[in-house]
Symmetry: C2
Subunit: 320 residues, 2 copies
């Protein structure tokens, strides 16, 4: 692989995030450029065009490159479906089950997803977060031993139980997707109130409302996002932050009640998201006495792709 | 008012429902015609054109008529805002607080809304349901005494506590709006699976999932609508009914935990909705031992407008 250049694509439900990377001879990764594009649900069927449009400037400069792709793009609502690997699983095992195909001269390497069995004959699935976990553990190897609860917020929150570096089980909450739908397409928020600073006081009020609830405050209280504006108590901008708090509070509350792990006062959770979402979840978790360690999701993602690239080079996988 | 003709408009978030009515000399209401149109959130600002388009054939035949309007159309996201009347209140009191204005020769009579104070400095609001309750009590006068819990499902479910014919307090759940958003715009349901009979078994499975939950099954279990399809356990059509069950189960569960009333085994609830929604809520309520009486919401609505018309005639309100 001349020059060690490759493209890493984290293509989720809401966003396409592409990174032009170079693996240096001193075993370090260099991020040369990054570009964005539409998420999986925003594209009808022509994923190929969306990808080629996104990486066009890189193609012109570097020619065909290997392209690693993780996320919802490899699911049943995406382009080509890769299988789910069953838990418990070490994140690095995903390197052995990639799907390869050619696309206009580029070699595409599609990552598998991960699946776990839960109580009541339920299962849960993830795509993309396993790569972030791989990268996180590479950056923070001390978390490779012991029992660790991770929280990866995004379009969907993933709560992941790690045991000695293995993904043991996990649960999904649709918190980010609900926020997006309720913010832009429901009766709750009327004006586009995107302008203005995030109101942390209103956020904490929303958190408190669902986190402190015995039961039912989320389902029968969500409408308070509207009534608090009708009464003049909140502006639309405040109501938006309050809605975020109501949703994240209900997410953390459900994690507190989960039977798969113990989340009590004095527990620790590692939160891996954007700085804003990390602070939101850390605020909610702190309010119930949980200690948080925050890590940036983009660093974890790039570290994951980097680790994957190395693993594939070591095993001389045909595609590289 | 020559001929006793009038137009009754139930204009909610999702639908405009207009009825051409005639009040007969024998004190009975005759429904002559009905027409539909877009709900309040589907119109940018031109409510006047939407209304005139809807009633155009009636205007051509009958000329200007009084038009009674109830629902979200009279709220801050609608056309002209009418005030909220505070609980406790008898539904017939709304007749005294209508807003009147002229619109292309038609006399518009806009109903007020109703507001109640809840615990934790929260309030709740309704628009349109107070008219349905007025109509229901007219059709079923035996419910004018005692303490009665009503459930009015729709875009928003309203749980309403009646005491001796007065609306005492109520709570809103966004169940119908969430179902619509999640069905058509989320990752949960991919294909348009509208074709085919409603799967009651899948519905009951969804109800059971949230109704029997200690806590957290809704927030951390909603994603099972997708995973049950991925595993091949459910088709998209079944998943849609299951989603309906998950949402309605969580709504009924929240009603069971509400502090404003007692909803326990042996309680009675009056459900006032469409036949399908009535059966959905009755199924969920029955599964926790609650007895349901089902009433058709359109009959209640028309009876409400009819009662309003009579009340206004009696008090010689200027508009008639």
């Amino acid at each position: 692989l001349a020059g060690g250049f490759f493209i890493a694509v984290d293509w989720g439900t809401s966003h396409l995030r592409a990174y032009l990377c170079q693996w240096n001879e001193d075993n370090s990764l260099q991020l040369l450029d990054q570009r964005g594009g539409p998420g999986v649900v925003k594209i009808d069927t022509d994923f190929k065009t969306a990808l080629l449009n996104c990486i066009c400037p890189w193609q012109q400069k570097y020619g065909p490159l290997p392209i690693f792709m993780a996320g919802q793009i490899n699911s049943s609502i995406g382009w080509q479906v890769t299988p789910y690997l069953d838990c418990p699983i070490k994140p690095q095992e995903i390197a052995n089950s990639c799907l390869n195909f050619d696309c206009e001269g580029h070699r595409l390497i599609l990552l598998p997803g991960v699946r776990c069995a839960l109580q009541n004959n339920l299962q849960d699935v993830m795509r993309g977060e396993e790569l972030q976990i791989l990268g996180f553990l590479q950056l923070q190897p001390s978390y490779k031993t012991g029992t660790i609860l991770l929280c990866l917020p995004g379009t969907h929150t993933k709560w992941v139980l790690l045991k000695d570096g293995q993904i043991n089980c996990f649960k999904t909450a649709m918190t980010g997707e609900l926020f997006d739908l309720l913010c832009h397409q429901s009766v709750l928020i009327q004006q586009d109130s995107a302008m203005g600073d995030f109101d942390w006081t209103a956020f904490e009020q929303g958190c408190e409302f669902t986190l402190s609830s015995d039961s039912g405050n989320f389902v029968h209280g969500l409408f308070s996002v509207r009534t608090r504006q009708l009464s003049g108590e909140m502006t639309a901008l405040q109501a938006k932050a309050y809605l975020s708090g109501v949703l994240i509070g209900s997410d953390v509350r459900a994690a507190k009640h989960a039977k798969e792990w113990q989340l009590t006062q004095g527990s620790e959770v590692v939160v891996i998201g954007t700085p804003r979402l990390n602070r939101c979840f850390a605020t909610a978790l702190s309010s119930i006495g949980v200690q948080c360690h925050e890590f940036d999701v983009q660093s974890a993602t790039l570290s994951g792709f980097s680790e994957l690239y190395q693993l594939m080079k070591q095993t001389r996988t045909t595609c590289l």
